[in-house]
């Protein structure tokens, strides 16, 4: 018996030793210095494969190594960034004026010729830019000036130049030389293609390491070291912040916010939204949503304040229409009005006795609502909508699909969906979403909207350069949308990150521009 226990004791000792091995592993990283420039480690859910400007250039503005010609702003009017000015000299001509002293990280100067080459190359290689500005041509008209000529009035040029997926600023000549050499994309690390305040020193499948650029046109940036770590699991990103291995975790799920309350090692920090998040869309080709009265009734029967404050725990704002109210043309077209909803349904012939479901000619008023697992909030919102619509006698069956985009792209087979879809681009482009989603025959017009009045308004606003006239047209468009129940949003999700104690004052930026030259702890990062 003694030997048996000795045997067991040795086993216990071995287990303890093994646990000690875990303690020997380095925990977190070095504590940041209290004085002097800070370091920043960001944990993000997406990996950056390489620095190719055509396929992965859009990541650059988010992490400070790429800049844009214009900077998106919350009022919908982009401001100059690498440009010093952008002027619409006539309906078909834009003059772009560069800042003096801007150089690529390889030392080459960004002048008029380089900028014209960049714009023409992007127009040729970027299908989205080419679709937005068909036939446009850029020519250098001065040492620091480029003239962009379009084939039709293009009021969204500032927004396109502020969109990270359209025109990232890079050295086209050097990139073309790289392409001609046949070298792999990994060689672009160290090529110095970009103008950003941070330079990519290394890029692996696990992380990106950047260092500040002392000769940046805006002066030395605020951080002395920047690390981006690619961590696909949201819980792991948050735990990395809690363990001190990261300062900021991007894309935290909404459901994680309550779990962080009361903690001193991590904080759920929210920012200002630039647009509503989840669209509630109806397939107008199928009953009951072939009837505009039913569409309008459903939108009116939803309590948007309850969705934002109670269902999403204050991490959403109530949706008031397709645009947030900070935009000058936003109209409050989505209003909860249960009495109006019931009257619309009564007029449509969907009647109810008592508190039961509504029916017409023996058919119950009921529809299926699609959600998808990639956006867990879609399920929460759908459940709440189901409960709210039950109060006005409308039945909802919730069905989760693995690929909602494919589901709604079908003309038949679905009735309604909750889908993450913005109505304004990263750069503030309001035209392309209207054309794609609501104009007859638009490539993203999944709901089957076909309204000549709306089409005419969209065609007008697509070429309207006067801001005042534009705002009026957009307001009229919103009213047509609301009057016909073409589209509605369920809520405006507040953009959020999880930070450690030192970055608790981090201001969540617009359009995912997480790091700029001024990003620093306890300071406004995007001034």
């Amino acid at each position: 018996m003694v030997r048996r226990y000795l045997f067991a004791a040795r086993a216990v000792v071995a287990a303890v030793l093994a646990a000690v091995l875990a303690a020997c592993a380095t925990t977190g990283g070095p504590a940041p210095a209290e004085d002097g420039p800070a370091t920043l480690t960001i944990a993000t859910g997406f990996a950056i494969a390489d620095l190719d400007p055509l396929t992965n250039g859009f990541w650059g503005p988010e992490f400070g190594y790429v800049e844009l010609l214009m900077r998106p702003e919350r009022n919908g009017e982009p401001s100059p960034w690498v440009l010093a000015g952008l002027t619409n000299t006539d309906p078909l001509t834009w003059t772009l004026t560069l800042r003096d002293g801007v150089t690529f990280q390889n030392g080459t100067r960004l002048d008029g010729n380089a900028l014209a080459a960049l714009l023409n190359f992007q127009l040729a290689e970027n299908p989205d830019l080419a679709a937005a500005l068909p036939g446009a041509v850029a020519t250098a008209s001065g040492p620091l000036e480029v003239t962009l000529r379009t084939t039709r009035p293009a009021p969204n040029v500032p927004a396109l130049l502020a969109d990270e997926s359209m025109v990232p600023v890079y050295d086209v000549a050097a990139y073309q030389a790289h392409l001609a050499s046949g070298a792999p994309a990994s060689d672009l690390v160290g090529a110095g293609l970009y103008t950003g305040p941070y330079v990519v020193d290394s890029l692996t499948a696990e992380s990106m390491q950047l260092s500040p650029r002392a000769d940046h046109w805006g002066g030395p940036p605020a951080l002395r070291d920047l690390t981006i770590r690619f961590v696909p699991e949201a819980s792991a990103r948050i735990q990395a912040v809690q363990a001190g291995e990261a300062d900021i975790a991007l894309y935290p799920p909404t459901a994680s916010a309550p779990t962080l309350q009361g903690r001193a090692d991590s904080f759920f920090v929210t920012g200002e939204p630039t647009g509503p998040t989840f669209v509630l869309e109806f397939n107008q080709r199928e009953a009951p949503f072939d009837d505009p009265r039913v569409r309008k009734a459903v939108y009116a029967g939803i309590d948007y304040t309850e969705l934002a404050d109670d269902v999403m725990n204050g991490l959403y704002r109530p949706a008031t229409g397709p645009y947030v109210e900070t935009l000058p043309w936003a109209e409050r077209t989505q209003v909860t009005d249960v009495a109006a909803a019931e009257e619309l349904l009564d007029r449509a012939g969907w009647v109810r006795s008592g508190d039961g479901p509504r029916s017409r000619n023996g058919t119950e008023l009921r529809f299926s609502l699609l959600t998808y697992p990639q956006q867990p909030d879609s399920d929460a919102l759908a459940l709440a909508v189901q409960a709210q619509l039950a109060r006005i006698g409308v039945g909802v069956d919730i069905r989760q699909v693995p690929d909602i985009q494919s589901a709604v792209a079908q003309q038949t087979g679905w009735q309604a969906s909750v889908r993450g879809s913005g109505f304004i681009s990263f750069g503030g482009d309001y035209i392309t979403p209207l054309v794609n989603s609501l104009r007859s025959g638009g490539p993203n017009n999944y709901t089957g909207v076909a309204d000549p009045v709306l089409d005419a308004l969209i065609d007008q606003v697509a070429v309207e350069l006067d801001p005042g006239v534009r705002d009026d047209l957009l307001r009229r468009i919103q009213r047509v949308i609301a009057d016909n129940g073409y589209l509605g949003y369920l809520g405006v999700r507040l953009p959020a990150v999880v930070t450690g104690p030192r970055w608790r004052g981090y201001e969540v930026p617009i359009s995912n521009l997480w790091v700029t030259a001024t990003t620093a702890p306890d300071a406004t990062p995007n001034g």
Binding site: A11, A25, T27, A49, D50, N56, A205, P232, A407
Partner: protein, 298 residues
């Protein structure tokens, strides 16, 4: 034949999976709302509009030459992607294997040494607990308790030996539970052999009887399980690698599945099949070496 059939099955399943692979690839690259033009461009780039039979034929011909194609998501050769990540997976598998075998031996022999008494009950209870808790739950809890609260270890593993313990432990637990149960049963069966009476009569201690006489006879079924389980470990531990951000093949394959990155998924299938076939062969050889009855075919 096995490889060809496995590749065909997985390729076919992916081809009929709902959703547009081009859109999924763009979303995996970070383009959250890909435009129709961008989707069309990727479809053309990946030749997705070719008939599935043509696509499979093209892939199979390349695979026969050792070319697993190019990742649709990253644009890099699949073979290179796996080669980069395989060392980390092998490291994790090796560490998990050592822990699992060690724990299985400990629990199995302790249970078999005192059948029906408290060591046996305790060992079986521990094994049951290890088996019922899902690995992703265990992983998240371990990270929270051990790393975040106790300050031991690291959340973001770097694929090296210094950060392998927690993911290896998480990976090892369910295997150790199953193996310990099989080992206990095998030891008890071997313990009923009459030749053990002779060794006891000749003065062998209980420990010597257990380790020298019972264990080798109980080894074949245990080793068979260990061998096949090793193949499962080498094939990647997707959940554990994802939870611990372990830069191995399993985590990479999960990302590829989400992105409908067909060349990677099918390539992973081939690796997994090769691992199982190789592991089965090694197990057969080891068992034959240990048990002469298997060598002579008796």
């Amino acid at each position: 034949m096995t490889l060809a059939a496995a590749g065909m099955i997985v390729f076919g399943m992916l081809a009929v999976t709902p959703g547009d692979p081009a859109r999924r690839v763009l979303e995996a690259r970070g383009v959250t709302e890909p435009s129709p033009a961008a989707v069309a461009a990727v479809r053309a780039e990946l030749r997705l509009d070719d008939p599935v039979v043509v696509r499979f034929g093209r892939w199979a011909a390349d695979a026969a030459r050792g070319d697993l194609g190019v990742s649709w998501r990253t644009g890099r050769p699949v073979a290179d992607e796996f080669a980069t990540r395989l060392p980390a997976t092998l490291r994790l598998a090796a560490a998990a294997l050592v822990l699992a075998v060690g724990m299985a031996l400990l629990l199995g022999t302790a249970a078999a040494a005192a059948p029906g008494r408290w060591p046996d009950v305790l060992a079986r209870g521990i094994a049951l607990a290890m088996l019922v808790v899902p690995s992703f739950v265990l992983g998240v809890v371990l990270l929270d308790v051990v790393v975040v609260r106790a300050g031991l270890g690291r959340v973001i593993a770097d694929g090296t030996w210094s950060t392998v313990f927690l993911p290896a432990l998480t990976l090892a637990l369910s295997s150790a539970a199953t193996w310990s149960r099989v080992l206990r049963t095998s030891l008890l069966e071997a313990g009923s052999s009459t030749h053990l009476l002779v060794s006891t009569a000749r003065g062998a201690s209980r420990r010597r009887v257990l380790v020298v006489h019972q264990l080798p006879n109980a080894a074949p079924p245990f080793l068979t399980l260990v061998g096949l389980g090793t193949a499962a470990l080498i094939g990647g531990a997707p959940i554990v690698e994802s939870v611990f951000t372990w830069p191995g093949v399993g985590r990479y394959t999960v990302e590829a599945i989400n992105a409908r990155d067909m060349p990677v998924v099918v390539g992973f299938t081939l690796i997994a099949v090769v691992a199982y076939v190789a592991a089965s062969l090694v197990v057969d050889l080891v068992c034959a070496a240990i048990d002469p009855r298997l060598r002579s075919g008796r």
